[in-house]
Symmetry: C2
Subunit: 189 residues, 2 copies
DNA sequence: ACGCTCATGTCAGCGACTGTCATCAGTAGG
DNA sequence: CCTACTGATGACAGTCGCTGACATGAGCGT
């Protein structure tokens, strides 16, 4: 047994989710979060860079999984297919958390600052995906376009999945969205 | 002649661009900006919601132009083509400002908070584009996918244009990116 | 027993942002 | 010409996000 209660980060995350849900993001101070977690406000900022970041701890794991999925994809697969495969792994991870991601998404959606941060995280993911595509042999420019497109599709799929709790599993929604992308972009000229 | 010097918003924008360029975003306080514009800090916050928003006044005009372009597109055109046309109008607007957008992009790129806000503005644009596509007859879900994809392509095109000052005009870069999207998404299966 | 580590607490302070009230040139109405 | 009203602004106090600096003390190796 350590000197301090274990998993301070986890307790802060838990406290933040509860308080943002109960009193809203604006109605919660970082001191409130720290207090519920049994820590000082200063310690909160040793674990998380700002008031928003406490909700985005899991995105690192998601990103790692997605990148691994791309790295493990068939080397002969087209870049967009490789990206889709990696994002499919990420979708499966989120699906495995049940309603958790939906609850978190509702909290994030409720405040502009949190939505902004989520977009920034997705942008980071897109950049990392592009990097993996380059590692697979894509040209830099083409990789960026493919990655940004793929991540945009992922976001749309996630939004659809959140909006329809009785619908298909996230990986299936994602696959459907990629199929739709091909249709949409094949039309015209 | 009014009681106050005219165009307070414009002066604040000018002052912010200068100061963010000279001393960086972190090295500039809102009080600094207000002082250079000949106003009080309190008045700054009457014109702009926060320290970031002062750089994003022009995105409203861009959005309006893009939406008008979509509204005026051939009703028979495919949704993605209509979105591309509207975004092409927006690209032409930015191109007409010469190096201005590149300078602004450099300032935005220099700080994470500004990049976040830019992403948020693009997300707003994507939502508005989706709305216009629905108004043209697209289904809600399909419109969201098309709009998010099209705006992602726009962002990639803008980044390429910024990175290559001696390259082709933005509308041409954008058209090339849309062509590339069709290639990329046609490959595989 | 000694010193080192390292997560934490405490405190002071800056800067972003807000609510509130006062000011006063211009303008409309009588 | 006086008066009331408007609307952009200034002044001031206060909250909160966030940071730097220093202190504390249990655990751990030596």
């Amino acid at each position: 047994m350590g000197r301090w209660a274990p998993d301070a980060r986890g307790r802060l995350h838990q406290a933040a989710m509860e308080l943002y849900t109960e009193h809203g993001y604006d109605g919660t101070t970082t001191a409130d979060i720290a207090e519920r977690a049994g820590l000082s406000e200063r310690t909160y900022f040793r674990h998380f860079a700002d008031k928003r970041e406490v909700l985005f701890d899991s995105t690192d794991a998601l990103q790692t999984l997605v990148l691994d999925g791309i790295a493990g994809a068939d080397p002969a697969a087209a870049p967009l297919d490789a990206a889709a495969a990696g994002l499919g792994d990420g979708a499966a991870l989120l699906q495995s958390f049940g309603q958790g991601p939906r609850h978190r998404a509702a909290v994030v959606a409720a405040h502009a600052e949190l939505r902004e941060r989520e977009l920034a995280k997705m942008a980071t993911l897109a950049q990392a995906v592009a990097g993996m595509l380059v590692a697979r042999g894509s040209a830099e420019a083409s990789a960026a376009l493919t990655a940004e497109t793929a991540v945009a599709v992922f976001r749309v799929a996630f939004d659809r999945w959140v909006a329809d709790p009785d619908g298909p599993a996230l990986p299936d929604v994602l696959a459907a969205c990629f199929a739709e992308l091909r249709e949409v972009s094949a039309r015209g000229r």
